[in-house]
């Protein structure tokens, strides 16, 4: 099992150029668990993840790993503990799958040393786990979107970090592949105890796969906790400005959000009040 780490973002204010996106956000990442950051577009989910992965330098506050500021740790040393899969990494032209996965070993390499047995073992293990062994010698451009994403995750796995961040790992994938990726990440968490933090768009998949959820709204942390503790009609209304009904996911018993639009409402004589409880029309003020 992976060791326990205390990973904290303390009073982070961050953004791009002159635009501040995050305002005084503090989070403590639960060690060895899967955490998911949710929120509407532009609320600062990705910014928070990137700041925690030292891709963005906060203008105030700091990110602490086991009591040390990550900005002060040497790059390679931090890269052995903390990995990030960016939203759109770039595929070098003509590279094979095994080669790309092997690049995840960079922080473990020392100057002028070739690949050690450990490197081969780590790459093989990552590829086996992501079921991409059969593609080892193929070029990345020959693979489908879902296969490609598995290759990138394998690269992050080969880095063998205790903490893994993923920025929207399921975006642009069909539902089948979304579930597949999230299942594989859960395998990873269960098998090794890897601490996973990711940004996801799909609120229902988030509620199902997360042990812990951070909800952001306009650059502020508005709620955190287990999905069943915090996902409510009120929270969804707050962060997405969407009327909905939270029901129990029949498969996982986690909360599931059913949106209420302006059309196709077959709840007949019922309407839904702000707390989401079905209310008879006669009782409500029309």
């Amino acid at each position: 099992m992976k060791p326990t780490h205390t990973f904290r973002a303390e009073h982070i204010t961050a953004g791009y150029d002159n635009k501040t996106i995050l305002h005084d956000v503090s989070v403590t990442v639960p060690s060895n668990k899967i955490s998911i950051i949710i929120g509407a577009n532009g609320c600062g989910k990705s910014t928070l993840l990137k700041t925690m992965a030292r891709l963005i330098k906060p203008t105030a506050g700091q990110v602490m790993l086991d009591g040390q500021s990550i900005q002060k740790l040497p790059g390679k040393q931090l890269a052995k503990v903390l990995g990030l899969l960016p939203q759109s990494p770039i595929v070098p032209e003509g590279i094979t799958v095994a080669d790309l996965v092997g690049r995840g070993r960079f922080p473990h390499h020392r100057f002028l040393k070739g690949w050690s047995k450990k490197d081969y073992a780590a790459v093989a293990e990552a590829m086996d786990m992501m079921n991409i062994t059969e593609f080892a010698d193929r070029h990345i451009d020959e693979l489908s979107g879902g296969q490609r994403q598995r290759v990138w995750i394998a690269m992050a796995l080969a880095q063998q970090t205790d903490i893994l961040f993923l920025d929207e790992p399921t975006t642009f994938l069909d539902i089948t592949y979304q579930v597949e990726i999230l299942d594989l990440l859960t395998d990873l968490n269960r098998k090794y105890g890897t601490t996973i933090v990711m940004v996801l768009h799909d609120i229902n998949l988030s509620a199902r796969y997360a042990d812990y959820i951070f909800a952001l709204h306009e650059g502020k942390l508005v709620a955190e906790g287990t999905p069943s503790d915090i996902i409510s009609n009120a929270l969804i209304k707050d962060i997405f400005a969407l009327d909905c009904m939270v029901i129990e996911d029949p498969v996982s018993t986690s909360p599931s959000v059913v949106p209420i639009g302006r059309h196709h409402n077959k709840l007949d004589a019922m309407t839904i009040n702000r707390t989401g409880q079905p209310v008879h029309l006669t009782e409500s003020v029309m």
């Binding site: 150029d17 040497p74 092997g102 790459v123 080892a136």
Partner: protein, 343 residues
Amino acid sequence: MMNETMMAIYRSRMKRKRRYLLMTCLLTVLALGLMALMLMLGNTIYPVKDVISVVLGENVKGASFAVGTIRLPRMIVGLFSGFAFGVGGYIFQTMLRNPLANPNVIGITTGSSAAAVFCIIVLHASNAFVSIASVVGGLLTAIVIFILSKGSSFSIGRLILIGIGIQAMLNAFISYLMVIGNTYDLPSAMRWLSGSLNGAKMENLYPLIVTVCICTPIVLFLANRLEILELGEQAATSLGVATNKTRLLLLLSSVLMIAMATAATGPIAFVAFLAGPIAKKLVGVGFSNIVPAGLIGVILVLAADIIGQFAFETRYPVGVITGIIGAPYLIYLLIRINRKGDL
């Protein structure tokens, strides 16, 4: 403990490594062969034995002057400038992830030429001054291109277009200088238009040799980081690469090498542009192609110079020959990029 996956990965990696080593050896042999040929060929053809004696410092009647004073500096300048063009071009192309993002195409070598031609025609400056000006011109052009393409967010496509624009402006400036220049200044200015190994003198080559000898170890040390940089800013940072520092060092080393080489030979057309892609074709991807690209630079320059000197009735400078080889590749690349739809 070795499982099947591990063995498969090991085998294919070794296969690529063998290909890399084999190709590098072949290229080295080819480069050495061309170097020898450059020393042997000329108005009088000297046998290998005489050439070796001269290089070792013995006095051979006739050969000592022709080989030692004329052909050796010509070969050395071809060797070092070819290597510098090849390595510098490869680093640009890899770091900016586009074969068009290249000192030849985006006008850095043209910046060197423009500065040199200006010094010759307007300032009537000494040779040493012209060389320094051409290095400064190359560096300045690189800085201007990077500042202009910075904008609100950096884009490689914009960098290339700005570079092409700046190159066009500099070329127009050179043409203007050639028109207003004195007739007797034109021959020395001509060298800055197409690149030539003519008139190389040993004592003028030390800046280039020293630069190549200092910059090559630096870029080789950074070779692994360059490969990681290819994955993009974010992935590289999270793999522990100090991206800004690495990029700056790589750019500085390659611009210096290119500028020094241009100061020594003029802008030998398309060598920096061709070396990287040829290396990639021959060696494949997966190991750093810095050394193979440098060797291909050497081979291109020396082979083109030999062809230019001996294949035709008239002697052509090396840059004319590399231009003839390089231009079709540029067109091919533009057509391919046009099909793919992105710069």
